[in-house]
């Protein structure tokens, strides 16, 4: 493998951009790395690491300030014509023509990339089957859901079978089932034709599938190597704790996170996974809380990644720890009965019923096009209800929409505050829109700024904040009026692993404070943080229950400890077979 020729190499490459104040910010600082043919190379790092800049340099879209970029042993700037005949590139936001149909988009990019006509029918059919877009060939690309667009974008980039494929976060917003499909395509290309693939990704489980990984942070290469090698370094520092019966894993996770020496603590399959510099401390804690400690856990790439970044980024103080309200089955915050939504003849949501208890974190999961976003939008009053009833905080959405909306906070998938306004101006606007004023408004804004670490950024333009801060601001705005229920639409889509951890910590604190949280997500490991979850497919309820209950559905003799993702895929496949 070491002998394979370099498909892409960076040699001491520096690239900077002008910033607002007339200076320059450096996106890449003298980085050196290479990607070999026949190998999938993962480019991993938090936001602002320089992943996109690196891929754009490789595609010849940018020129380096200094250093050399070689693509297939060519200069991507001087020999741009030859290079572009041989590479495939999928930008982060793939530019599909939204007023063209799926088929027309495919045809256009096939024309542009010079795919021979004879090869097209098979190639199109194959890609559409894999992407699950076969039935939608005549649909306008603008009418596809976010995940479907992403899959179509990838299909367009893969049309030609290039010698080097550059993918910039290809699976953002794509559900787990589709993600597995995408990786099948990529692996097939590498195995079959020995091409080089470079994938920038924020999904660490995807990084684990790569042959080699380059860890970038703030424009520098922290480490390169095979994921397994990374993980091996953490041997002995990873523990898994099984909480004492009756203790929610979340509480144990928070306790672990606060221990000195803890690098990372998450929930996996009902257990708390801790990466720590001092395992004895964790053992002590486990003993004190009656949790069973499993030592000798095989470290994952994710553990290694967190260890690489440890100390390079600020960590947030953990907020509240005690529950203000204990969720109870008879204390309902959101009540949904036979809810349906039809768009013309198409039934997006079919007679869905469930309850969300006060003070719990409730997850809404499902593959692309399952109807979860539509359900979610109906509950927020953004889409009208075709049939059935929905009550939010005791208010009927169909009759007292305005009163219901006063009780809910909403955070959109995309940053949707006013970019031209400063942090504090945004907060002031949303506060006033919810009827706050005077001293009360000032107090709430101050609390929001402090709680979300925004005090020093209060006068910065919201649109120019780093991604993590944007998300903090969005949440601060949604919580300003102390809503009874907080709705979060794919809050962690496209967010790096660091910010994701921070985010869930906050959600946890919010829920402990008594606010009900309803959240949609694609990251199934995040579902572990939910008290209960609803899995939807094709507009109907597939399963409803606690993470434990959901996992039980997939437990078999061959697979005694399934993850939520395993369960999800199993359920989705079972439904697919039935249909």
């Amino acid at each position: 493998m070491i002998d394979a020729p370099a498909a892409l190499s960076f040699d001491g490459v520096t690239r900077s951009f002008p910033d607002r104040h007339g200076g320059r910010t450096t996106a890449l600082r003298g980085v050196t790395w290479l990607a070999r043919a026949g190998v999938v190379t993962g480019l991993v790092g938090p936001d602002g690491a320089g992943k996109t800049t690196a891929l754009r340099l490789a595609a010849g879209l940018l020129t380096p300030d200094s250093g050399a970029v070689r693509v297939l042993d060519l200069d991507p700037v001087a020999q741009v014509g030859v290079v572009r005949d041989r590479i495939g590139y999928m930008p982060q936001r793939f530019g599909l023509y939204e007023d063209l149909t799926v088929g027309e988009n495919l045809r256009l990019f096939a024309d542009l990339q010079g795919v021979p006509h004879a090869a097209r029918p098979d190639r199109f059919a194959q890609l559409m089957r894999i992407a699950g877009l076969g039935p939608f060939l005549d649909r306008l690309a603008g009418r596809l859901s976010g995940g479907m667009k992403q899959k179509l974008g990838l299909a367009c980039a893969l049309l030609k079978e290039p010698d080097l494929l550059l993918l910039d976060e290809p699976s953002v917003g794509v559900d787990p089932v589709s993600r597995r499909e995408l990786w099948k395509i990529i692996d097939g290309l590498v195995a079959g034709r020995g091409i080089g693939v470079v994938v920038a990704t924020a999904y660490l489980d995807e990084a684990e599938r790569c042959g080699e990984v380059v860890v970038l942070d703030r424009g520098e290469v922290l480490a390169t190597g095979a994921p397994a090698g990374f993980a091996a370094q953490q041997r002995g520092r990873v523990l898994e704790l099984e909480p004492a019966p009756g203790e929610p894993p979340r509480a144990l996770q928070v306790a672990c996170a606060e221990l000195p020496g803890t690098i990372d603590s998450t929930i996996r399959a009902g257990r708390v996974r801790v990466v720590t510099a001092s395992p004895p401390r964790v053992e002590q804690l486990a003993a004190a809380r009656g949790a069973r400690s499993h030592a000798g856990v095989t470290p994952s790439f994710e553990d290694a990644f967190m260890a690489q970044l440890a100390g390079r980024h600020e960590r947030l103080p953990v907020g509240r720890r005690e529950r203000a309200v204990e969720p109870a089955a008879d204390d309902v915050a959101v009540r949904v009965r036979d809810l349906s939504k039809r768009f013309g003849a198409f039934a997006a949501v079919r007679s869905v019923s469930f309850d969300v208890r006060r003070g719990e974190i409730f997850g809404l999961l499902g593959p692309n096009g399952a109807g979860k976003t539509t359900t979610f939008r109906m509950l927020c009053g953004l889409t009208s209800i075709s049939d059935g009833e929905a009550t939010v905080a005791g208010r009927d959405l169909r009759r007292a929409g305005r009163l219901a909306r006063l009780q809910l906070g909403y955070m959109a998938q995309k940053f949707s505050l006013y970019g031209a306004l400063s942090v504090v101006e945004n907060l002031r606007f949303f506060g006033r829109a919810y009827g706050l004023r005077g001293r009360r408004l000032r107090e709430r804004i101050q609390v929001g700024l402090e709680e979300f670490g925004l005090v020093e950024r209060r006068d910065d333009e919201a649109g120019r904040l780093p991604a993590g801060y944007k998300q903090r601001l969005a949440m601060a705005a949604a919580l300003l009026h102390e809503p009874a229920i907080l709705f979060l639409d794919e809050p962690t889509s496209g967010v790096d692993p660091l910010a994701r951890r921070e985010f869930w910590q906050r959600i946890n604190a919010v829920a402990l404070g008594g606010t009900t949280v309803v959240v949609t997500t694609h990251f199934l490991e995040e579902a572990e943080f939910c008290d209960r979850m609803l899995i939807m497919a094709r507009g109907a309820v597939l399963a409803l229950g606690t993470p434990d209950e959901i996992r039980t559905l997939a437990r078999t003799a061959a697979h005694p400890e399934p993850s939520i993702e395993d369960a999800f895929i199993l359920l989705a496949e079972r439904q697919g077979d039935a249909a």
Binding site: A59, G60, L61, R84, P91, R93, L100
Partner: protein, 386 residues
């Protein structure tokens, strides 16, 4: 079929261009707003200009205060009444007439004083008073000259009847070439063609290219083997076709509905329109590749394309009467040269001296603008984070 395809594979550039061209065409056909701007707007504008914009005056309500009961005065009023330009309203007194003007019920007052008949009889000066509503100065000036003409006709009648002493010494005998009846429609419609092509060539083109940047499709297209020249060609062709379509619609309606003559050759009109449209397309492409935002591109094309085409081209307002600075600036406005050529082509004919000059300037402008557009269409992203 397969032979054709084989041919395409042999020329990948052509396949790419055709593919992009097909996409561009589909987008135009699907977006009602681009069809509206390119094909409906020319029709609407031509009818608006043909019917709605007229610099001639007809049926002007004029109040006449007749203080002299004599024949000469009555002849004068009869001459006004007989003129198609006027609609005579009788007023009893000057204050009554002035009130009519104030209430916008009359646009002028002609006061024929008692002394008229005596003055004429004595062979001395015989003044009449003309009061004009001067708000619309152009119209007021026209009304003034219509009144002069009516008075002249009255005098001629009186001379024929032998009532007037002598004859005027010199008469100015006007003869108008190209547009004998001085119909303003004949003047306006040929100029309008420039405006129509500006809309498609600059505004629509600037918008569609800026849209590619804004929606991120540009980045996806940039990294394909599509070359900048192919990109430009595929963008130019459909909008060239649309622009020429607009031109043909506007001129066709002008000729058939409004009776504007086309004295020059169609070939010359087609050729010069093409040059002008290419210059406009070049400007549209330069604007959009410089600003890369639809909204800014729209503003820039209105300020740099539409306004100059309207105001600095001689389409409606005569450049010869503007301050020298404006006249100098107008030389860099493509529409100025096209409007000149268009007026000549429609009303005068193929006058080489005018057409070659205008065609030459337009060709130069088209070349320079397209060359800049070609330079600006890079296969790289801008310096700042796009």
């Amino acid at each position: 079929m397969s032979a054709r395809r084989g041919w395409l594979v042999a020329r990948p550039g052509l396949g790419r261009t055709l593919g992009f061209l097909r996409k561009e065409t589909l987008q135009i056909v699907r977006d009602p707003s681009s069809i509206a701007l390119a094909l409906v707007m020319p029709v609407v504008l031509t009818f608006l200009f043909g019917y709605g914009v007229s610099l001639d005056a007809e049926d002007v309500p004029i109040a006449v205060v007749l203080e002299d009961p004599g024949d000469a005065a009555r002849d004068l009023v009869a001459s006004l009444q007989g003129s198609p330009q006027f609609e005579v309203v009788r007023a009893d007194s000057m204050p009554a007439a002035e009130r009519l003007v104030r209430e916008h019920r009359a646009e002028a007052v002609l006061r024929i004083r008692r002394e008229l008949g005596e003055g004429l009889a004595a062979g001395g000066p015989a003044p009449v008073q003309l009061l004009l509503d001067g708000v619309d100065s152009n119209r007021a000036r026209l009304i003034g000259s219509y009144v002069d003409a009516a008075i002249g006709r009255a005098a001629a009648i009186r001379r024929l009847r032998g009532e007037a002493p002598g004859v005027p010494l010199v008469t100015a005998v006007p003869r108008t070439w190209f547009n004998p009846a001085l119909r303003s429609t004949h003047f306006l419609v040929p100029g309008l063609v420039a405006l129509v092509m500006t809309l498609t060539g600059i505004l629509l083109t600037a918008l569609v290219v800026a849209r590619e940047w804004e929606r991120g499709t540009m980045e996806a297209v940039l990294v394909t083997p599509l070359r900048p020249g192919e990109f430009l060609l595929a963008k130019l062709l459909p909008y060239y076709a649309l622009g020429m379509g607009g031109m043909l619609l506007a001129s066709g309606i002008g000729v058939t509905v409004f009776g504007v003559p086309l004295r020059g050759s169609f070939a010359a009109l087609f050729a010069i329109s093409s040059l002008f449209l290419l210059a406009s397309l070049g400007l549209g492409l330069v604007i959009s590749s410089s600003v890369r935002q639809q909204f800014v591109a729209a503003q820039a094309s209105i300020l740099a394309g539409f306004l100059p085409a309207f105001f600095l081209s001689g389409l409606l307002f005569d450049l010869g009467s503007t301050p020298p600075a404006i006249r100098v600036i107008s030389h860099v406005v493509p529409a100025r040269w096209f409007v000149e050529a268009s007026h000549t082509l429609f009303m005068a004919g193929d006058i080489g001296a005018v057409l070659w000059r205008d065609a030459g300037v337009l060709a130069l402008m088209a070349f320079v603008l397209l060359a800049i557009a070609r330079r600006k269409t890079t296969t790289r992203l801008a310096e700042d984070r796009a």
